[in-house]
């Protein structure tokens, strides 16, 4: 089957639209394990390689998630061989987010997160941004702000708990309003 330019553009658009869903799904299958971005990238590559085997009109997201799942399991096997502690596969299946999240739902959570982040103080926000943006060690940030690293960990715990609560409230309110 020839894959013309229009089909290519449509296919790429599909991949682009499902990035958040794939990211969320992959994290749900490998909580606390490094390599989420790598697995996502590998998934994107396989999606493109197999583009001609995708049947238009069928559920693209389900198909993409099945490929992501295969990639995660492969990654888990490697980590398991290296002695990393991983949830049992049956529990992983139980916990895994069903790959049905609509992009709009994930967008809603991201918007809610933005709102909730704006409620943080400057120092709280700075700590969160360091943790999730810089990728460097908390100890380094502790030196910068002249606070013990353990104290920052406690703050992060508290901030995340507050963000979780805040997002849940926003989603609930949005659900009631819509």
């Amino acid at each position: 089957m020839k894959f013309d330019a229009t089909q290519q553009a449509e296919f790429v658009g599909q991949i682009a639209r499902q990035q958040a869903a794939l990211h969320a799904y992959i994290i749900s299958l490998m909580p606390g394990i490094d390599g989420v971005d790598d697995v996502l990238q590998e998934t994107n590559i396989v999606l493109w390689e197999k583009r001609k085997s995708f049947e238009p009109g069928t559920n693209f997201r389900a198909w993409a998630c099945s490929i992501a799942r295969f990639k995660v399991m492969s990654h888990r096997r490697k980590l398991s061989n290296l002695g990393f502690q991983l949830f049992n596969e049956d529990l992983t299946e139980q916990l895994a987010m069903e790959c049905e999240a609509e992009p709009e739902e994930l967008d809603g959570r991201l918007r809610a997160l933005d709102t909730c982040l704006n409620r943080l103080t400057d120092s709280e926000r700075s700590l969160v941004e360091h943790r999730y943006f810089s990728g460097s060690a908390l100890e380094e940030y502790a030196l910068k702000v002249n606070r013990p690293a353990e104290s920052l960990r406690v703050s992060l715990f508290r901030i995340r708990a507050a963000l979780k609560k805040c997002i849940a409230e926003k989603i609930t309110i949005h659900g009631i309003q819509s």
Binding site: Q8, A24, G32, V36, W48, L91, L95, R160
Partner: protein, 478 residues
């Protein structure tokens, strides 16, 4: 497990710092308690949202091409097309965003006369961009010359070769190597340049970047402000303003360096650069040279360092060097003394037995005769063929160091591999080593080769046939 303990353990889980005993307890709790699984999912959503949001402009997880390629190589490439497919994927994902809003090319470019470059696109066949155009995923390798990049966003850049760049997105250029000057107008603030050492985010400015293979990258700010984030080690970030310049050091910190406008071009040279050989170069010092009479069986060696400059045994026009090492026999190469010791019956313990104090290895220093802007150095390796293995005496791993003045401090610009000579006299085997992207080469008086190894030759001998230093119309002698 109490709710507070559950929350604490879940946060530790997503942080990747949960201890083994607790891990087992948490696993059991999640397996048996639906409420615990609900809390788990809430934290999972939060983790996803925070991490996905942190990607910012990298929302689509577009990774540098070299990383994709390297990852593929580690996994044993099934066929050569896979890397290309990866590039196509990435390019197309980026392109999907751009197609809808930008019918004009993302970037067009102009070149100076004589520029030697090649381009590969992530799209091919009928879909490949036409003309002097780069689209996301396009890679340009500039062997020599200068290229002007004109982004649709208004960003302008002059890139001096040798350079290797890839347009990742309309607002993200990956500069693997090269010297480039960028001018970013107000509407394009946020434009990013990635190098192997750092990522620069423009805040409305003019700045220059030196990206050097196997060496530390530099940023020079001429107007406005930029933010630079180190990719390695401590990953330090710094905000730089007009007049500041920094080197990204190997620990992840930023070191001050003098602001240098002269490393960058702000217009295309009107004529092709003419490479000419620098004259007046002399040998400043050498760790040893095999010259003299050491006994009946080993006599009249004439393999002094001067032979790498004097043209003996060398056809300057053709770039061919013969295979005779001794200047007094119609040839002329330099060979150090290595750990050689003569075994002559007449002089079994000759006190003059040559021995290089740097063996294994050797050091040779050239005096350029004055402050010089060097473009490159051409080396012809040791080409002796009295036995087939003698070409292995040729220099192999060589550190090149440059000093600004006589008696000045030497700065290493990195290690280079010199190619083994072919062992024939009818072939130009000159190896050009481009120095133009190294700031130190912009103001050089002394050049030193610290030769660390040969190609497996005997007695730790190290030698060269000929060396020439080149300047161009863009990089003239001062």
């Amino acid at each position: 497990m109490t709710p507070a303990e559950l929350e604490s353990h879940l946060q530790d889980l997503f942080e990747g710092r949960l201890e083994r005993e607790v891990f087992e307890n948490l696993q059991e709790e999640l397996r048996s308690n639906p409420e615990a699984r609900k809390v788990y999912r809430e934290y999972h959503h939060l983790e996803h949202a925070l991490r996905f949001r942190s990607k910012g402009v990298d929302l689509l997880n577009i990774v540098p091409m070299d990383q994709v390629h390297a990852r593929r190589q580690r996994r044993t490439i099934r066929n050569a097309g896979l890397a290309a497919v990866a590039l196509v994927t990435i390019g197309l994902i980026a392109m999907a965003l751009i197609l809808t809003r930008s019918p004009t090319p993302t970037l067009v470019f102009l070149t100076s006369p004589g520029t030697d470059f090649k381009i590969s696109h992530s799209r091919y066949g009928e879909d490949a961009p036409n003309g002097q155009v780069l689209e996301p995923g396009s890679r340009m390798i500039i062997e020599s010359g200068t290229v002007k990049l004109k982004f649709n966003s208004g960003v302008r850049a002059f890139v001096r070769g040798p350079a290797d760049l890839t347009l990742q997105r309309e607002d993200l250029l990956d500069l693997q190597s090269g010297a480039a000057l960028f001018n970013v107008p107000e509407q394009a603030i946020g434009f990013k340049v990635g190098t192997p050492d750092f990522v620069l985010t423009d805040l409305g400015t003019e700045f220059g970047i030196l990206a050097k293979p196997n060496f530390l990258d530099e940023v020079h700010v001429f107007k406005g402000e930029v933010e630079v984030a180190h990719r390695k080690g401590l990953k330090k970030k710094e905000l730089l303003i007009r007049g500041q310049a920094r080197v990204a050091d190997s620990t992840g910190k930023w070191q001050m360096t003098p602001l240098r406008r002269d490393h960058f071009l702000n217009k295309l040279p009107p004529t092709a650069p003419q490479r000419t050989v620098l004259t007046g170069v002399t040998i400043k010092d050498v760790s040893s040279e095999l010259v003299g009479d050491f006994g009946v069986l080993f006599s009249n060696f004439d393999r002094g360092a001067i032979h790498v400059l004097d043209g003996s045994g060398f056809d300057e026009a053709l770039g061919e060097h013969n295979v005779i090492p001794d200047g007094n026999r119609g040839g002329g190469m330099w060979l150090n003394s290595g750990t050689y010791s003569p075994r002559s019956p007449d002089a079994p313990n000759d006190p003059n037995a040559p021995n290089d104090p740097n063996a294994p290895g050797a050091v040779i220093t050239f005096d350029l005769g004055g402050s010089t802007t060097l473009h490159s150095v051409t080396v012809w390796n040791y080409n002796e063929t009295a036995r087939p293995d003698l070409v292995k005496r040729g220099a192999n791993d060589v550190e090149i160091l440059i000093a600004k003045s006589e008696g000045g401090e030497f700065t290493s610009i990195g290690d280079f591999n010199f190619t083994i000579a072919p062992g024939v006299s009818n072939q130009n085997f000159g190896q050009i080593i481009d120095l133009s992207s190294f700031p130190e080469a912009g103001d050089a008086r002394l050049v030193r080769f610290n030769i660390k190894s040969n190609h497996g030759g005997d007695n730790n001998f190290v030698g060269l046939s000929e060396v020439r230093f080149n300047i161009t119309s863009e990089s003239h002698a001062k």
